[in-house]
């Protein structure tokens, strides 16, 4: 079937396997290993090609809970369980997921494989910092338990390892107890980038923080933003009922989203919010997952899909490099519907994890030919400032960009060769960034290529 992920670019022809349980998964792995590269896949909420390959092993039916230890706050679940399901189960026990990305529909397996971050990275680190351990199915068909203390290397390679070390079958997640699931939200308007940074720094004791940038603003107001700070309200409300969303039923023609409509969106959103009250208390659903409320919003970008460009740059030069990026984007006349700025805390020990201490900016672009040269230019800026791009969003970075910015790639490749010498696991992305092609050529001439 024709398969793509959230950005709907790129698109590929893939055979999707949906095993009903662990034994079936092993059987399918063995039966198909010789047909091409296999990549595990969760909800397909990564944007680019990290969950695409000739063969896709879906965790759709590995979606059961194994146990919940509410006393110690540990939940054990299948890799295909969504964070939404986890929240529904743990909230009534007055527990919460310590790290939440911007969509609750991602799976636990996908959240581990991308070592996802939330609006509280500066305080809580990333998702895998709260993983007790997981069972990983290797290319040999053997399942091993990985944790900080068992199979430590494999653990640090697989957390953020984009499915390239094997298939996560089930995982144990340490939950967090919270006073309630409503969030006290404070919105602050900042008039330019320097003040955005200042406000984020000054408020870094708030549990959650995020800035929505008006990325079409220029000159004096370059980098003006709305900053949303959040803290758990002490009101002990543990309700899981969520709002009913709307859905984008069909792909809309992409001309509906052009620089003018986006400019309109960005500035009217900005002005609207400016007028609104500055503090309120909202359900966790509205605070963490505003976009989930519009089902299939990715269809708004039209048939050609879109790219999300997310990079991180170290704190020291963040103001300078992000200014440079925003100027380039603005000069190119490319709009970004959403531009989100977050502060990251310290990096963790995982080999290919994205976060490093600094600032991360996320930009969305409609896919069009002229976009790619612009993104290449942005790559240069990011590299120059010792930053890097997020694999979970990427659909186009070059091998050299990847290898320059992820210093552990060699260590990763070495381990990969020892546990998966034939590159049974690999994605379109891993081929592109040079994590699976090289030894493929040398050691694996016999295998069918796409």
């Amino acid at each position: 079937m024709i398969l793509d992920s959230w950005g709907r670019y790129p698109r590929t022809i893939a055979t999707v396997l949906e095993p009903l349980d662990g034994p079936a998964l092993r059987r399918l792995l063995q039966a198909h290993a010789s047909e091409g590269k296999i990549i595990p896949r969760g909800a397909g909420r990564s944007y680019g090609d990290s969950a695409l390959a000739e063969l896709v092993m879906s965790s759709r039916f590995l979606d059961g809970f194994l146990s919940l230890d509410s006393e110690n706050g540990i939940i054990h679940c299948g890799a295909g369980v969504s964070l939404d399901s986890v929240l529904r189960v743990v909230i009534p026990k007055q527990l919460f997921v310590p790290v939440l990305p911007g969509s609750k529909f991602v799976t636990v397996g996908g959240a581990i494989a991308a070592d996802v971050h939330g609006k509280n990275h500066h305080i809580a680190g990333s998702f895998c910092d709260h993983i007790v351990g997981f069972n990983l199915l290797l290319s040999s068909g053997e399942a091993v338990y990985c944790s900080e203390t068992e199979n430590t290397e494999l653990f640090h390679a697989s957390c953020g390892g984009m499915g390239l070390t094997g298939i996560i079958l089930d995982a144990k997640l340490k939950l967090q107890s919270v006073p309630g699931v409503f969030i006290n939200r404070r919105s602050i308007v900042s008039e330019n980038l320097a003040s955005t940074f200042e406000i984020l720094e000054d408020n870094n004791t708030n549990t959650y923080s995020v800035a929505w940038l008006d990325c079409l603003a220029q000159g004096e107001s370059l980098g003006r933003s709305l900053i949303f700070l959040g803290n758990h309200a002490s009101n002990p409300n543990f309700e899981t009922r969520t709002r009913r969303g709307i859905n984008v039923p069909v792909t809309t023609p992409s001309f509906l989203l052009n620089k003018y409509s986006m400019g309109l969106f960005n500035s009217s959103y900005f002005n609207l919010k400016k007028l609104l009250h500055k503090s309120d208390t909202v359900n966790y659903d509205s605070y963490f997952f505003p976009l989930d409320n519009i089902g299939n919003w990715n269809r708004l970008y039209g048939r050609d899909g879109f790219l999300q460009y997310q990079f991180v740059v170290p704190s020291e030069t963040a103001l300078e490099s992000i200014t440079e990026v925003l100027k380039k984007v603005s000069a190119a006349g490319k709009g970004s519907f959403l531009s989100v700025l977050k502060k990251f805390g310290k990096a963790n020990k995982n080999w290919l994890s994205f976060p490093l201490e600094g600032y991360t900016l996320t930009l969305d672009f409609k896919r069009e030919k002229s976009l790619f040269p612009l993104l290449d230019k942005l790559d240069e800026i990011v590299l120059k400032h010792s930053g890097r791009l997020y694999l979970a969003k990427d659909a186009r970075m070059t091998e050299s960009t990847f290898k320059q910015s992820y210093p552990n790639w060699e260590k990763f490749l070495e381990l990969k060769k020892s546990i998966d010498p034939e590159n049974i696991f690999g994605s379109l992305q891993s081929d592109r960034v040079g994590l699976t092609v090289e030894n493929d050529r040398k050691e694996n001439k016999g295998r069918k290529k796409a």
Partner: protein, 244 residues
């Protein structure tokens, strides 16, 4: 609410059981695959259900039905809802080539269900309340070339339910026939999916709603009622030439 589910590991059954689990329902689960049944028991327990028992059973073997239901009753005592979900979508060409294949499908979808319904009728009559829910299919509404053996086996059950409903009415027992359209589940893994397809989770929601509102026949998603109205109204003279 006390619920018995037959074919509990089916994708639609699983999604339905999860909705009931969230409400704290008490469940008894019967399915064929032991590994998946055990997994489901643990899952529903975490999701808030009280699991009063589970049993592995090949439902096509009707001889085991009586004993199985005795076990169910001994732990549930009364049943608010009995939901029959198991089913088999056979290869139509294989059915046409071999009666044995057709027989097997008719047995699983049709006869085994009727055996269960015979026992349920007895239990529900005695207790004087509750709902019996059976998943049939829109395929039972009209025999179409690509799946008429499956369709016939489902039609057998739908017709049976129409009569049973009346027979149980005086006893305060509710009978609901659930007719899903195209559902993306393991049963249909090999099919190319299109816009008419829906998810087991969506179907599950309408099952829960249909049961609580005591609906008699539901199409799920609802637009299948319209589609099937059109399909059924096509004159036989024309229909015989249609290959869909």
């Amino acid at each position: 609410m006390k619920i018995l589910i037959m074919g509990a590991t089916s994708a639609i059954a699983k999604a339905t059981a999860r909705l009931y689990a969230e409400t704290g329902a008490e469940l008894f689960l019967i399915a064929r695959n032991e590994v998946r049944l055990e997994e489901l028991v643990a899952d529903l327990d975490v999701r808030g259900a009280k699991i009063s028992g589970h049993l592995t059973l090949d439902i096509s073997k009707t001889a085991g039905h009586k004993k199985a239901l005795e076990t169910v009753l001994s732990s549930l005592e009364k049943i608010d809802l009995a939901l029959i979900c198991h089913g088999d979508l056979p290869d139509q060409a294989a059915c046409e080539n071999s009666f044995k294949v057709a027989q097997k499908a008719i047995n699983v979808n049709g006869l085994s269900t009727i055996s269960l319904l015979t026992i349920f009728a007895d239990i529900f009559k005695t207790q004087g309340f509750g709902s019996i829910a059976v998943i049939t299919s829109v395929a039972g509404d009209r025999g179409r070339q690509p799946n008429f053996v499956y369709g016939a086996s489902k039609a057998l059950v739908s017709t049976y339910l129409q009569g049973l409903r009346g027979a149980l009415l005086p006893h305060g027992v509710h009978v609901i026939d659930i007719k899903p359209g195209l559902v993306d589940s393991p049963m249909t893994a090999a099919f190319e999916k299109g816009p008419l397809w829906s998810s087991p989770e969506l179907v599950a929601k309408s099952i829960v709603k249909g049961v609580s509102k005591k609906r008699l026949v539901i199409y799920t998603p609802g637009y299948w009622r319209l589609i099937m109205m059109v399909v059924v109204s096509i004159p036989e003279l024309i229909f015989q030439r249609l290959k869909f």
